[in-house]
Symmetry: C3
Subunit: 169 residues, 3 copies
Amino acid sequence: MTLVLGGARSGKSAHAEALIERSPGPWTYIATAQAFDDEMRERIALHRARRPAGWETIDAPNDLAGAVAALPPGRPALVDCLTLWLTNVMLAESDLSAEAAALEAACAAAPGPLVLVSNEVGLGIVPDNALARRFRDEAGRLNQRLAARADRVVMIVAGLPLTLKEETR
Amino acid sequence: MTLVLGGARSGKSAHAEALIERSPGPWTYIATAQAFDDEMRERIALHRARRPAGWETIDAPNDLAGAVAALPPGRPALVDCLTLWLTNVMLAESDLSAEAAALEAACAAAPGPLVLVSNEVGLGIVPDNALARRFRDEAGRLNQRLAARADRVVMIVAGLPLTLKEETR
Amino acid sequence: MTLVLGGARSGKSAHAEALIERSPGPWTYIATAQAFDDEMRERIALHRARRPAGWETIDAPNDLAGAVAALPPGRPALVDCLTLWLTNVMLAESDLSAEAAALEAACAAAPGPLVLVSNEVGLGIVPDNALARRFRDEAGRLNQRLAARADRVVMIVAGLPLTLKEETR
């Protein structure tokens, strides 16, 4: 299990795709994005257009743990991204703590190579509004939890990886 | 002297506590937070609840240099955090440059192991309002000054340390 | 060609100046800042005051590719910074994609050592307004493109360099 962190337009998705393609395909792309508006629809289309043949795409905006648990044995999978999933869970007013625990357990039990993409959002000034502050806190906590579980954590800056954790088994 | 940098919910306080507990206790926790509202009160209570026995807590929202200078000989201490102290100094309209110089001198002369926690806040988009921009500038300058003095500087991302400086004496 | 990334007040300009001064002078400073208001005028004056003798300053708020292409053979040059240039190009509503391609080509063909300074702006919470989001995306893309071309990429945090890429030729 690898966690790929990075800022906006840091190249984290492209890096994560390259990582998972080191395992033999076919690969599953678990997409968490929900298209609420044109800007979002455009971003999703751009991401899809980049993926070549050999990729199966599954949409899991809310039940991400279920999608990970349902992966076929040995199938390499990429989750893009945790931050959008967190947004969806918060908007749905689901029990975040239970959802995060279920996700963690599903990822730890994943039957094949798994790469998770997540945004780092806590390195700017404190946001003005309380919801953004809560989101920032939850995103930080989620990243910490999954980083603790992952075998490998990389942060992408300007397309370049910086290794934060590398466990050899 | 160690400087621990990190974003919101990066795990920097937990990392700093683990670092200082490598020195034999008792330890002093120098808290700079001021509880202006319920959100802040809750954050402070959470931080306090995490600290086990063997910790003495001192509140120094403004006179941080004085609190560091008054530490007993050899006492390991943790300052959490510089960014809240900077907020307090700016709100009090004190002479920031003199206060920062006094803090630097006190930290350099600290009689025991000292770990300083500070937020990195300059990696987002330029803030809309002038006060936030000024704060961001001052926080960056303060981090640079203390990083130059420190023997060790680490940045925490998702709970994982990234060493920026390590001086062996 | 070296790309120096960093947040606000991270010490990236001072680091970039120290880097380019390793090559024998005189040095050219290519400034992209435009003084729209007093705050900006003050920042520019501070930056200029820090540069010692032996530096020639060229203003290139828009035609940065032209300024790089016009450097005398072997002349070491520092571009500070790409992020302000991007702001200027977006405000001028120029063809950003063509401008970025011209800049990339000019940098790759630069006749002497070249150090580019750029801001990392994508590590905070998603900005409220669409223009800031677009700027953040374009800044990330530009940093990725130039990082891919550069021989060396460093990120500056609290005045300390973190090497992201180092190519030995």
